[in-house]
């Protein structure tokens, strides 16, 4: 027994953490990474490192380096900081529009191969000229992109919190494309922009704000965004409480079934909610509005631009059917008002 204990002790002492020993003081923990390309095609990596800069009273340090490849650019940062860059706690990856348009496949490859990175971070496309510019602002204002993203998803519905690994899972499905969040600087403030849509690995463009919300509704990725219809006296503003979207194939046509529960937030003077019939009328108005928006969205992106962000092609593939050149679809929307609130109450 003694010899086994002795052997175990020897192992514990000699092979303590093996080569993987990483003292936290020797690590430069990266929270935000930005990737740009210069005119010669070299990568420029900008990182925000979590480390108390006592001299300048700052929580983060910004570093930048250039290299022929992503790996080289990141490694070259070591010249400027004595610590090793640690990507396991990366929260945000921002890529420039140029990189996004030329394809993010090599970036995805890099993170899939890298053992340190967890892939549970969020990908953004920079609406500014470079991603580095955005990171400089993030560092200067000490904002958390993660918190901003969560708020945008929850209250505006124009963003979603899909991690890089979830995006990869989606894009790897046959006949399925992705949408990625964007960010930029407006009047010296960082903001979360509209969704950037991709075809295969390449970015095609940005959606509008309403389209971004519609995409997130159809992607079942909404928490409580606002829907607005009508103007002034006919204004109806509702908050989506629950949202269930189903895509199916019926008679070789795509069926989109949307079931929503909403809460009334605000109504114009001409809108009455005093009886169940009138509530049903409002529900009808909302259903028609959502149906129109969904149909416009599907027509624009799925049919005209052929972007598979809703995965119609994947739907046909899963049912072992050939994807038709002219896809037809039906939209069924069912909205129920859970609670109208307000002073006049019929419930």
């Amino acid at each position: 027994m003694k010899k086994y204990i002795f052997a175990l002790l020897v192992v514990v002492v000699m092979f303590n953490a093996f080569d993987n020993l990483k003292e936290i003081t020797n690590l430069a923990i990266v929270s935000v990474l930005g990737l740009d390309v210069d005119e010669e095609g070299n990568y420029i990596a900008t990182v925000e490192i979590i480390a108390g800069d006592k001299e300048n009273n700052k929580k983060t340090i910004l570093e930048k380096a250039t290299g022929n490849s992503i790996q080289e650019a990141i490694r070259n940062i070591i010249d400027k900081t004595p610590q090793r860059l640690y990507l396991a706690h990366l929260e945000t990856l921002i890529v420039s529009e140029d990189i996004a348009k030329s394809g993010i496949d090599n970036i995805v490859d890099f993170f899939i191969r890298d053992n340190d990175a967890s892939n549970n971070f969020y990908l953004f496309v920079s609406k500014e000229k470079t991603a580095g510019k955005v990171i400089e602002k993030i560092s200067e204002q000490e904002v958390s992109m993660l918190e901003m993203l969560k708020s945008s998803e929850k209250y505006r519905g124009n963003a979603n919190t899909k991690t890089l690994s979830q995006c990869i899972q989606q894009i790897l499905k046959v006949g399925s494309d992705i949408c990625v969040n964007s960010c930029g600087i407006n009047e010296d403030e960082i903001y979360i922009g509209e969704m950037a849509y991709f075809k295969e690995w390449k970015m095609q463009g940005y959606m509008s704000k309403d389209e971004s919300i519609m995409y997130n509704i159809l992607d079942k990725n909404v928490v409580s965004p606002i829907l607005k219809t009508g103007e002034k006296e006919n204004l109806i503003i509702v908050e989506i409480v629950t949202n269930d979207v189903k895509f199916g194939l019926k008679d070789n046509k795509v069926n989109i079934d949307i079931n929503m529960e909403v809460n009334i937030s605000e109504v114009g003077k001409a809108i009455s909610l005093e009886s169940k019939e009138k509530v049903r009328e409002v529900e009808n108005i909302l259903e028609n509005e959502v149906k129109d928006r969904v149909e416009d969205f599907v027509r624009k992106y799925q049919i005209e631009r052929g972007v598979q962000i809703l995965g119609f092609e994947n739907l046909y593939y899963r049912k072992k059917k050939e994807y038709p050149q002219n896809v037809e679809f039906n939209t069924n929307v069912d909205i129920s008002i859970a609670n109208q609130g307000g002073v006049v109450n019929i419930w």
Partner: protein, 353 residues
């Protein structure tokens, strides 16, 4: 009898993760889940053989039974010895590779292997009863962890990841089923290494206990494969050497417990250590008796260490050998000897009656 049945669970786990799954995913893709369901039926004949041999083998183990078979007995023991030894080599490298990729990515796999051999050295100083008890405890822990895993990643399950259903070519599907039957068959037959003399006799309950554990082991295997494919999609699964570990990264329990993959994945380690100690116990036992018997365990472990260094120069060699040889090895060196034993025992019983 119960403690022997737990061997089935450990064998199913450790033969499949990183070995069986690595063969099955590229062939059957999303249909691997259906293949696993078929696997229950296809492996059943081997399970029947295992049950029969366990019931009729009155000796300490299968090797003693073979010794009492005139002529072919020694040949069967040699085959079994080669089979157990080579499978142990595969299992040792597989678990070292797993720890190396997911835990010690910057260390050499040789160091990791060395670390695994230390507890094995200790366990090999114990008798079969202790090893079986240890395996029982570890298997229970693993089943518990698996249950927690499933609860934690169930919210990520997307049934559309299983579609298109049965898109695999029937020829490839049948080939994959043969592979599966070979690996799971070998796993089931591991229980039959132990003779009735070495274990507590549950008499008429043997059938019920073994049937129950066969079902549990299969359900667990199906749950693992289904969770891996349904949460990630097959194209993502194929990117990784151990997608089961990657699936655990999605674990989240009530938004409180997250990033627990390193703890939860320890079940792979527990299972491999259990089954390795069981196999190595028989390998050491089969070596010729001499007064130097005490150094056998360390000798076997060192031979294994150097052989794995020599044969599996790196992971690419290992995965190549997995795809080419391991199933064939299971059929020739494990299933074939047991099948011959089954026929001999059957003839004997018929003759006596």
């Amino acid at each position: 009898m119960v403690e022997v049945s737990f061997i089935m669970i450990s064998a199913f786990f450790s033969f499949f993760l990183g070995i069986g799954s690595y063969i099955m995913y590229p062939i059957c893709r999303q249909d691997t889940i259906i293949a696993m369901l078929f696997g229950v039926i296809i492996t059943y004949p081997f399970f029947r053989i295992a049950k029969y041999v366990i019931k009729k083998n009155k000796y300490e183990d299968i090797f003693e039974l073979n010794k009492n078979i005139k002529g072919i007995g020694i040949f069967l023991n040699i085959l079994l010895f080669i089979g157990l030894f080579v499978i142990s080599l595969f299992l040792l490298y597989n678990i070292s590779d797993f720890l190396n990729i997911e835990y010690f990515s910057e260390s050499s796999v040789q160091f990791t292997k060395f670390l695994i051999l230390i507890p094995l050295w200790y366990v090999l100083s114990k008798d079969l009863k202790t090893i079986l008890k240890m395996n029982q405890v570890m298997a229970i822990v693993c089943v518990g962890i698996l249950f927690i895993d499933f609860i934690g990643i169930a919210h990520k399950i997307d049934l559309s990841n299983a579609q298109p259903v049965m898109a695999t070519d029937i020829k490839d599907f049948s080939k994959a089923l043969l592979y599966l039957a070979g690996l799971n068959g070998a796993g089931v037959l591991m229980c039959a290494l132990v003779g009735r003399k070495s274990i507590s006799d549950n008499g008429s309950k043997i059938d019920k206990i073994l049937n129950l554990f066969y079902i549990i082991a299969n359900i667990m295997q199906i749950v693992i494969i289904a969770s891996v494919i349904l949460t990630q999609g097959i194209n993502y699964v194929l990117l990784f050497r151990f997608p089961e570990y990657i699936a655990l990264k999605q674990f989240s329990f009530l938004n409180m417990a997250e990033r627990l993959e390193n703890v939860l994945a320890l079940q792979f380690y527990f299972n491999s250590i259990s089954i390795l100690s069981f196999l190595l116990h028989y390998i050491v036992k089969l070596l010729p008796k001499s007064n130097k018997i005490k150094i056998y365990p360390i000798f076997v472990l060192l031979v294994m260490y150097f052989l794995t260094c020599f044969i599996f120069k790196d992971t690419s060699y290992f995965t190549l050998y997995i795809q080419k040889y391991i199933v064939l090895l299971c059929y020739i060196t494990i299933i074939l000897p047991f099948f011959i034993d089954y026929i001999i025992l059957h003839k004997k019983v018929n003759k006596n009656s």
